[in-house]
Symmetry: C2
Subunit: 585 residues, 2 copies
C-alpha cells in the first residue's frame, strides 16, 4: 500500500472476525487464527464482504496470534501472521490492512507472571512479521491493561515505522479491568505516541458514548471507536447481540458527530453493520473537536492534572542530606523507601519523587526496583529524579503510566540527552532554568532559559504542556537577592510561556535557623506567584499548614471542608454561608 | 502689591534685621520690634539698604511680635505689626514684603505649657494684622518645633490668602531642637500646603549644604535657604560671624546650583552680603530638581516611608470584638490604650492605628485625647481611624506630623467629606475599594473603584502618592471566591495606578478555626502580591514569623540579621556568605 492514511476524513474499519467465523460454524475450542491456514478462502471471503460493505481498512485475523497463546498449538506465530496478512492484503486491494494485536492472555507483573520485557518481546515478534508482510497499521485492541498496551506500543514503534492505533476495553464501571480510567488512557497512550486511540468491545455503542467524554475532551490524536453490537446476552448458551445494523449505524453516527473519526464494529457486528455505518458516515463530515491541553502525569490508574489546585510532589525519597535514605539505598532496603512513599501519600502528596543517586550503588538497577515496588504499592504518579539519562530511561521505560522526568536543564548536552527520552516514553519533564552560564540572577534571564528549553523541547516534538519549569530556589543565606527573582520568574514564565511551574522549596532556607518558618513562608509566596507543583516534604507541619490554608484562601478547598476536617476541629458556630455574608465586612 | 511671585526665577530675600540693629547700637534687653515705633526711619533705612542691595523681598521687623513675647511690654501686637508692615511696604515699592513670624518663645505641650489652640490663636492674630496691612507673604521662620510650625501654618492659611513660607532651624545633629529631621520637615510642611520650605539660621552656608540632601530630594515646593554668616563665635562677649560677603555669596551660589531658589541671609548678614548674593545669582539660572515622590506618614520626629520594606500598621487599638479595649474606652483608661501602643511599637509596628469608635462615649474627645497621649509616649506616626469625618478632623488637626486617615471610600459622600480634611492637614488617606454599589467581587472592578478614588482625590488637590488603597479582605468563610480577588487587586492596582496598598489582614479568617494559620498565610500571599502596609496585630506570633521570614526572602532583612537576632539563635556554622554560594545548588 502506498496510499497514506487520511486522518481528516472518516476511517471506517471492518466489523467482527470472530462473529463471522461463528456464523460459519467455528466451534468452541477451535483456534480462530488457524483458519488463516486451514480455510484461507473463508477468511479472504469475510475480508471481501467487509470491503464490499464499504470499509476503508480491514483487520487481519491475528487477534490471539502471539507466542503465549500459541504455545500449545502446532502453528507458529510466523505462520499464522504471515498467512493472515497475505490474505488480508490480497482482499484489501487499494484499502488498508491493519495488523490486529490483542492482549497476550496473561496478566503482567505484579498481578500476573509476565515481565514487561517478556510482553514486549511477544508483541515485537508479531509486529516484525506483520510489517514484513505488508500491514499498513498496527492495531493494538481490546486492551485491559495499560501497562501491557505500553509494551505493545513500544514494540510496535521500535520494530516498525507503521502507524499505531490502540483501543482499550472498559468494564461497566468505566475503567479497564486493571483500573485505567479514560483520562489516564488518553494521557498515557498519546504520551507513547499512538496515532489513534479509543475504546472497543465490551459495550454497545449507546453505553460507550458517556465513556467517551474525557477522550473527546483531551485526546490530541484521532479517536477510534469500535463498539460491540450492543450488550451481549446469553441465549441457549450462545452469546447474542440485540442491536440491529441500522440502530448501530445511527449510534455510530452520534459518536462521529461528537468527534470520533475512526469507526468500526467489534463483537456481533457483520458486513451489514458496516454497510449501514458507511451510509451513515457518508451523510456527514468529521467535526473538529476543541482539545483541552493539560499538563498531566499518570500512573496506570490515576491522572494528576497539574495546574488545577496545588500538586504536591513529595521530596522525601532523596538521599541528599538524609542518612536514613542513604542507608536504605546502600543496603537495598526497599521496604523503607516504600514506606516513605506511603507516608507521603497519606500526608497528601499527589506525586512522589524518587531519587536513588548515591555513588555506592548501581543507581539504574535500584531506580528500576524502587519504581516497580512503589508502583505496586501506591497509585500515585511518580517522578523519576536522576542526574543520569540512562537511569532515567531505564525507569521511565518500565514505568506504568506517564511519569515526570526530573530533570532537563538549558544546557545543550542535557536537552539532547533528555528530550528524546521524554518524547519516546511520553513523560512530563521538569526544565531547570539554568544553562551553560549557570543560574541567571534575574527573573527575565531565567525566562530566557525557560524559553530555550520549551523551544528545544518543541523541536524534539514535545508539547509545551509536557514541560514544567523549575525557577530554582537559591539559598537565602548565600544569594539572598536571588530569592525574589525565583518568585518573580514563576509569574513571568507562566505568563510568557504558558507552562506550569514547579519548585524545590526547602533549598531556600539552607544554612539558616528555623528553616520550617522560611520554607512555609516561601511556599506561600511561590503559590501566590502561581507555583503549580511544589516539591516539598508533605509531612512537614509548617508546609502542611501553608498548603491547607492557601487552599482555603485560593478557593481550592471549597467551603474550607478539608481545612476544617484536617484540623480535626469543629467550625465555629458562626460558620454558615448565608450568615457570614452579612457579617463579612 | 499686585505683582505675583515668580517661583521659576530666583527669589532673593534680605539679610538680618537684628544684626543691622546691633550695628546701629541696639542694646541687650531692648525689644527689636519696638524700633518700628521708636525709630521708624532706621527700620525703613535698613529695608531700603536691602532693597538697594538687590533683594526681591524684604522681611518685616516682626520676628518676636506675638502676644506671648509682648505680654510684659507696653506695645500691642497690633501696634507693632501695623507699623512694621507699613514701614516695609513703604520701603519695598515694587518689591515684596514678607510678614516675619518667629517662634512664640514658649514650648508647646507636652514639652512646654502652650496648647495647640493657644499657639494657633497667637499666630492667627499676627497673620490677620499683617494681611490687613498689606504683606505679600507670610514667612514663618527659625522654627524649632514642627508642631508649632503647624499651628502657625494653619493660622496663616485660615486667616489669609497669602503664600506661606516656612523655614526651620537645625542643631548640629541635623535635627531641630524638638527632633525633627529634614525628611520629616519636608513631609509635614508640604503636607500642610506651604508654598516654600527650607532651613534658616543656626548654621553657615557650608554647614547647611549636607542638611539639604533630603529637602532637595523630596520637596515638591520651592526650597528656601537663609544661612547665618557662618558659625557664630563669641569674641569679647559679642557674637561675631567670620564668613565674608563674597564667601557667603559663593556658598549660596552652590546651594542655588543644587536646586534651592529662594535665598537670603540670616544672623550676621548685611546688605553687603545680599549684594554679593545678587551678583552671584545673576550669573546663573535656577536648576530643575528631580523630586522623588514618596508615600510617607510622619510623627513630629520620624517619617515612615511606605513602600520601602513592609510598613506594619498595628491594629490593636480598636474596640471591634475586643472587650478590654471597649472597657478602656468606656472608662477613659487612656493608660491601657497607651500601653497597647507601646507594646505594638516594641513588637515592630511602624504605625499605630487608633480607633475609638464605640457609641457610649464622645468619640471626638476621646480620639483627641488618645492621639495626644500616644504622641507624647511614642514617636511612631499614627493612623486616625473613624467612621466620622468630624472625629477625623479633630484628631488630624491637633496631630503633630502627617497622619494617615483611615478611611475614605468610593462613595461620593465619603470622598466629599474626607478629601478636604486630608488635603487641608496634609494627611495620607486610605481609600477602601467599595462604593455605593458595595464591594466589587472582581479585582478589575475594585481597580475601577480605586481609580475613582485616586481621580477624585486629585481633583481635591491630593497627590496620588498620598492615597493608599485598601483592596479589602473579605471573609473566606462567607465569600471564599472573593479572597483571591483581594490578592489580585493588590498587584493590579499597584501596577495600574502606581499607588501603595494596605490591607486589614485578619478579617479574612473570621468564622474559621485556627485563624492565625489563615492570617499568616494570607499575609504572605498579600505581601507577595505587593502589599505595602499590612494592618495587623504585631504581637501575633504567626504574623511576626511571616513578616520576619518574608523580610529575609524579599531581601528587606539583609543577611537575615534581624531574623537571626529575633530568633535569639545563632546562625548555623554554615552561615557564611562565601561558603554558601558554593553550596547553594
Ligand atoms: Zn468485541
Ligand atoms: Zn539667624
Ligand atoms: Zn534670621
Amino acid at each position: 500500500m502506498n496510499k497514506k492514511l487520511n486522518f481528516s476524513d472518516w476511517l471506517l474499519f471492518d466489523g467482527a472476525m470472530g462473529t463471522m467465523l461463528q456464523n460459519h460454524g467455528i466451534k468452541f475450542g477451535e483456534l480462530p487464527e488457524s483458519y488463516n491456514i486451514l480455510y484461507p478462502e473463508l477468511i479472504e471471503k469475510i475480508h471481501k464482504e467487509y470491503i464490499d460493505a464499504g470499509c476503508d481498512i480491514i483487520t487481519t485475523n491475528t487477534f490471539g496470534a502471539n507466542s503465549y497463546k500459541l504455545k500449545n498449538y502446532s502453528y507458529s506465530v510466523k505462520e499464522i501472521i504471515t498467512s493472515a496478512v497475505r490474505l488480508a492484503r490480497k482482499a484489501a486491494k487499494d484499502r488498508f490492512v491493519a495488523l490486529d494485536i490483542g492482549p497476550i492472555g496473561q496478566l503482567m507483573q505484579p498481578y500476573g507472571t509476565l515481565t514487561f520485557q517478556e510482553a514486549y518481546d511477544i508483541f515485537a515478534e508479531q509486529v516484525k512479521i506483520g510489517f514484513t508482510e505488508g500491514a499498513d497499521v498496527i492495531l493494538i485492541e481490546t486492551m485491559s491493561d495499560i501497562y501491557e498496551a505500553k509494551a505493545a506500543i513500544l514494540a510496535a514503534k521500535e520494530n516498525s515505522p507503521l502507524p499505531v492505533f490502540c483501543t482499550m476495553t472498559l468494564q461497566n464501571d468505566g475503567r479497564t479491568l486493571t483500573g485505567t480510567d479514560p483520562l489516564t488512557m488518553v494521557t498515557v497512550l498519546q504520551g507513547l505516541g499512538v496515532d489513534a486511540l479509543g475504546i472497543n468491545c465490551s459495550l454497545g455503542p449507546k453505553e460507550i458514548i458517556p465513556q467517551l467524554n474525557d477522550i473527546l475532551l483531551y485526546s490530541k490524536v484521532p479517536i477510534m471507536v469500535q463498539p460491540n453490537a450492543g450488550l451481549p446476552e446469553i441465549k441457549d448458551s450462545t452469546t447474542i447481540y440485540n442491536v440491529t445494523p441500522y440502530e448501530f449505524a445511527s449510534d455510530i453516527k452520534s459518536i462521529a458527530e461528537l468527534g470520533a473519526t475512526i469507526l468500526g464494529g467489534c463483537c456481533g457486528t457483520t458486513p451489514e453493520f458496516i454497510s449501514e455505518v458507511r451510509k451513515a458516515l457518508d451523510s456527514i463530515r468529521p467535526v473538529s473537536r476543541h482539545v483541552k491541553k493539560i499538563t498531566a502525569a499518570a500512573s496506570g490508574v490515576k491522572t494528576e492534572i497539574i495546574g488545577e489546585g496545588i500538586t504536591i510532589i513529595g521530596e522525601r525519597i532523596n538521599p541528599t542530606g538524609k542518612k536514613k535514605i542513604k542507608d536504605a539505598l546502600k543496603s537495598g532496603n526497599i521496604n523503607y523507601l516504600a514506606l516513605e512513599a506511603i507516608q507521603q501519600k497519606d500526608a497528601g502528596a499527589n506525586i512522589i519523587d524518587i531519587n536513588a543517586g548515591i555513588p555506592e550503588i548501581d543507581e539504574e538497577e535500584m531506580m528500576v526496583k524502587i519504581t516497580k515496588e512503589i508502583q505496586s504499592l501506591i497509585q500515585l504518579p511518580l517522578q523519576i529524579d536522576s542526574m543520569q539519562p540512562k537511569v532515567i530511561e531505564a525507569a521511565v521505560r518500565i514505568y506504568n503510566g506517564k511519569p515526570i522526568i526530573n530533570s532537563v536543564n538549558g544546557k545543550k548536552e542535557s536537552m539532547d540527552a533528555i528530550f528524546p527520552i521524554a518524547k519516546k516514553y511520553g513523560a512530563l519533564v521538569i526544565g531547570l532554568t539554568l544553562d551553560e552560564k549557570g543560574i541567571p540572577f534575574k527573573a527575565e534571564d531565567r525566562l530566557d532559559v525557560a524559553k530555550k528549553i520549551v523551544d528545544c523541547g518543541e523541536s524534539y516534538g514535545i508539547a509545551r504542556e509536557d514541560i514544567i519549569i523549575d525557577t530554582l530556589a537559591l539559598t537565602a543565606s548565600a544569594q539572598q537577592d536571588a530569592v525574589k527573582e525565583t518568585i518573580k520568574a514563576i509569574g513571568l514564565i507562566k505568563e510568557e510561556l504558558g507552562v506550569k511551574t514547579t519548585l524545590g522549596v526547602s533549598n531556600v532556607s539552607y544554612g539558616l535557623p528555623r528553616r520550617e518558618l522560611l520554607n512555609s513562608t516561601f511556599l506561600a509566596m511561590a503559590l501566590t506567584a502561581g507555583l503549580d507543583a511544589p516539591i516539598i516534604d508533605p509531612l512537614d507541619e509548617g508546609i502542611k499548614n501553608t498548603i491547607s490554608s492557601f487552599n482555603v484562601l485560593w478557593s481550592y478547598d471549597v467551603k474550607a471542608e478539608a481545612y476544617i476536617k484536617s484540623l480535626n476541629d469543629k467550625p465555629t458556630p458562626s460558620w454558615n454561608l448565608d450568615n457570614n455574608i452579612e457579617k463579612s465586612l
